[in-house]
């Protein structure tokens, strides 16, 4: 029992189960999955659970990259939301050219994705450069892109809002005809499988943790910490591009100031919820990914009870504070002390009797 409790993955799973249990008691229709037909005439599944796996996909994808960055550099990238705006804007620019209302796409979506991916990787590399070579704290280094990102995204498309009418482009963020499960879920699962294969068959995970735990001793052991840190930021860039494709495809358009707003906070939260130390070192990828879905479950639950989207952060904040307080080592220590004191007190009482 204590081994299960000590396992890192226990925290997010317990949180997820707790939320689901709450929903089960409060309103069992939460688990209802209905088969419907969308506006294009395709059979689709709908219901809160489907919403969670649909909207949680981007967050899960970002959590992958954010976990690696956190583990290697002991800091977080706060520019992912802005980077999504840049990558999404680039994709639309490649697809539309200068015409903002194209009838046909200029290039295949695949090409646009590759270009967007390269741009996102370049910005990731820029962040990584500041962090690894100039030794600037990750949060501060990424503050630069956070400030400029949405402006750059608007500049790429001349501040116009291209709209793509081709229904094929909407497949990535919606449904492929004939498949009732939302596509983002498949994309997220593909990313998860890829990262697990990478972690299993390469040394990436080991090296990242080594750099995060002790940079100078990992250097003495023949690992290049500068390169590893830089690499994690580039990998995060790829994750950003995938998330951007989903986000842009959902709308078939873009809104520079709103797209992926505050998603960096949710991604960092997912990593923290997964029980990973935000100061770097050891990480558990599965826990982070489950953490992402926990956050989405919380969001969906709150929306279900008609909490306005602007008030959402207040509830999230309470959950976050509770979680970090419970998982804080100092708090745990004092609680164990308190428990043992209570126990010994009881024993004394027994002895007195």
């Amino acid at each position: 029992m204590s081994r299960i409790l000590k396992n890192q993955i226990f925290i997010p799973i317990a949180a997820l189960l707790l939320l689901l249990l709450f929903n089960l008691i409060a309103d069992p229709t939460f688990f209802k999955i209905a088969m419907g037909v969308n506006s294009d005439g395709n059979p689709v599944l709908s219901g809160p659970i489907i919403t969670i796996i649909n909207n949680g996909s981007e967050l899960a994808i970002l959590a992958i990259g954010m976990t690696l960055v956190t583990a290697a550099s002991g800091g977080q990238d706060i520019s992912v939301g802005a980077a999504i705006a840049i990558a999404g804007s680039t994709m639309l620019r490649v697809l539309c050219g200068t015409n903002t209302r194209p009838d046909t796409l200029r290039t295949p979506v695949f090409v646009a994705f590759i270009v967007g991916c390269l741009v996102a990787m370049a910005f990731g590399a820029f962040n990584g450069l500041l962090v690894s070579i100039f030794k600037i704290q990750p949060m501060v280094a990424t503050l630069i892109l956070y400030t400029a990102g949405r402006s750059i995204a608007a500049w790429i498309n001349n501040n116009e809002l291209p709209i793509i009418s081709d229904p094929k482009f909407a497949y990535y963020g919606g449904f492929i005809p004939g498949i009732p499960v939302p596509t983002p879920f498949f994309i997220a699962m593909a990313c998860v499988v890829i990262i697990f294969l990478v972690l299993k068959f390469t040394n990436l995970g080991l090296y990242t943790q080594a750099v995060g735990i002790n940079e100078s001793s990992s250097r003495l052991n023949g690992i290049n910490p500068v390169f590893i840190k830089w690499l994690t930021f580039v990998i995060l860039g790829v994750c950003v591009a995938v998330a951007a494709l989903i986000k842009v495809s959902r709308l078939s358009s873009i809104n520079y100031s709103v797209i992926a707003k505050d998603i960096e906070m949710d991604a960092i939260l997912a990593v923290a919820l997964g029980g990973n130390a935000l100061s770097g070192g050891k990480f558990n990828m599965a826990a982070s990914i489950i953490g992402a879905f926990v956050i989405q479950t919380l969001t969906t639950t709150l929306f279900k009870y008609n909490v306005p989207s602007d008030a959402l952060p207040a509830y999230k904040a309470v959950v976050v504070i509770l979680l970090v307080v419970i998982s804080a080592p100092t708090f745990r220590e004092s609680m164990t002390k308190l428990m043992s004191r209570l126990k010994s007190g009881k024993k004394k009482e027994v002895a007195n009797v």
């Binding site: 500041l130 100039f134 704290q137 400029a148 100061s279 952060p313 904040a317 307080v325 100092t330």
Partner: protein, 343 residues
């Protein structure tokens, strides 16, 4: 020349970065006067920068203090919004008086500081996560208090808001040939007092020096007999208190409550502190530098908007570019200085 280099080497980190900031600000302002024409020569242009950024100066002072102690507080923007909304609701719906609304602002700030400081200092939770949750909470609470933005019509408040303090001898003659006095708002006076008090606190008091000690090296601070936890706690309390005061100054400037108020103010405060020579690693910084950091930031914004590049994106890109240059310069200068000391 060699004298200057040796002086440069002997400078403390704080003074070195401070000098760079002040020089850059003056160069930028002179550049603005040369390239943008006479608008920047009028004292009122400078005073308008102060008027618009009084709240940011106060917020940045608190932010610098936390950063000097080695932490960070990204909740200040949220607290600003929460304070303006609470005060607006109190003044408008309840018809209350201005003094009580000031008290509300200070109490909100204090409460925030005590909770966040306790979590950071005594429970050892990362300041980033704590203040992130604080920011979420403040923004969410603002919506819960009131969703729609609205203006305050309370008479005594409006009178206070419209109070102008005339700066003698700084006025100019306008197009109609009339002499117009130069003025500043009350917020600017508050901001200047805060800067002076914070400067004295950091320079001459035992508490102020212990902030630097804790930020520089926790272990040695502990060896020196400084109560590290209490120092950290106090840094957060003062920062949030200043966020409360800054929130009220912001409220005094805009005269309304809205959820979108002070959006991104925390990032501007961090950026100003960094430009002002405060290092996020702790132990280095100066509120005078922060003051000039805010001025540099807003001068850049003014230059961008008066140069006709008023598309919104230019401001973001220029601030980011400036931040980037400053960060890289800081990192290079510090690295070179370290190697010079070793030699």
């Amino acid at each position: 020349m060699s004298k200057i280099t040796s002086k440069f080497k002997n400078m403390t980190d704080t003074n070195l970065l401070l000098t760079i900031t002040i020089v850059v600000f003056f160069l930028m302002y002179i550049g603005a006067i040369i390239f943008q024409g006479k608008g920047f020569l009028k004292p009122q242009t400078f005073f308008n920068i102060l008027n618009a950024n009084a709240a940011l100066i106060i917020l940045s002072c608190g932010m610098s203090l936390v950063m000097i102690t080695g932490g960070i507080d990204i909740s200040v923007g949220g607290v600003t919004a929460l304070v303006s909304m609470c005060c607006a609701v109190y003044l408008d719906y309840k018809g209350g008086n201005v003094a009580v609304s000031m008290l509300i602002a200070i109490l909100i700030g204090l409460a925030y500081g005590i909770v966040q400081g306790f979590l950071v200092a005594y429970l050892d939770i990362q300041p980033f996560i704590v203040s992130l949750a604080g920011m979420f909470f403040a923004r969410g609470m603002t919506t819960i208090v009131n969703t729609n933005p609205f203006n305050v019509a309370n008479e005594s408040f409006v009178a206070l808001k419209d109070t102008r303090i005339i700066v003698p001898g700084m006025g100019s003659v306008n197009k109609l040939g009339k002499y117009v006095n130069a003025y500043v708002e009350i917020g600017v006076i508050v901001a200047l007092i805060v800067v002076i008090v914070m400067f004295c606190l950091l320079r001459w008091t035992k508490l102020g020096r212990s902030f630097y000690a804790v930020g520089g090296n926790k272990q040695s601070a502990l060896m020196l007999g400084i109560n590290v936890k209490k120092t950290k706690f106090l840094s957060h309390v003062i920062c949030s208190l200043l966020a409360g005061i800054g929130g009220y100054v912001y409220f005094l400037h805009v005269g309304s409550g809205a959820v979108t108020h002070a959006q991104g103010a925390e990032m501007n405060a961090i950026a100003s502190s960094i430009i002002g020579g405060t290092m996020l690693t702790g132990g280095v910084g100066n509120v005078i530098g922060t003051f000039f950091g805010v001025l540099s930031l807003s001068t850049i914004q003014n230059i961008v908007s008066s140069a006709g590049l008023d598309q919104a994106w230019w401001t973001g890109i220029t601030i980011a570019a400036m931040l980037c240059i400053f960060l890289v310069v800081q990192s290079v200068v510090m690295a070179r200085k370290k190697s010079a000391v070793k030699k």
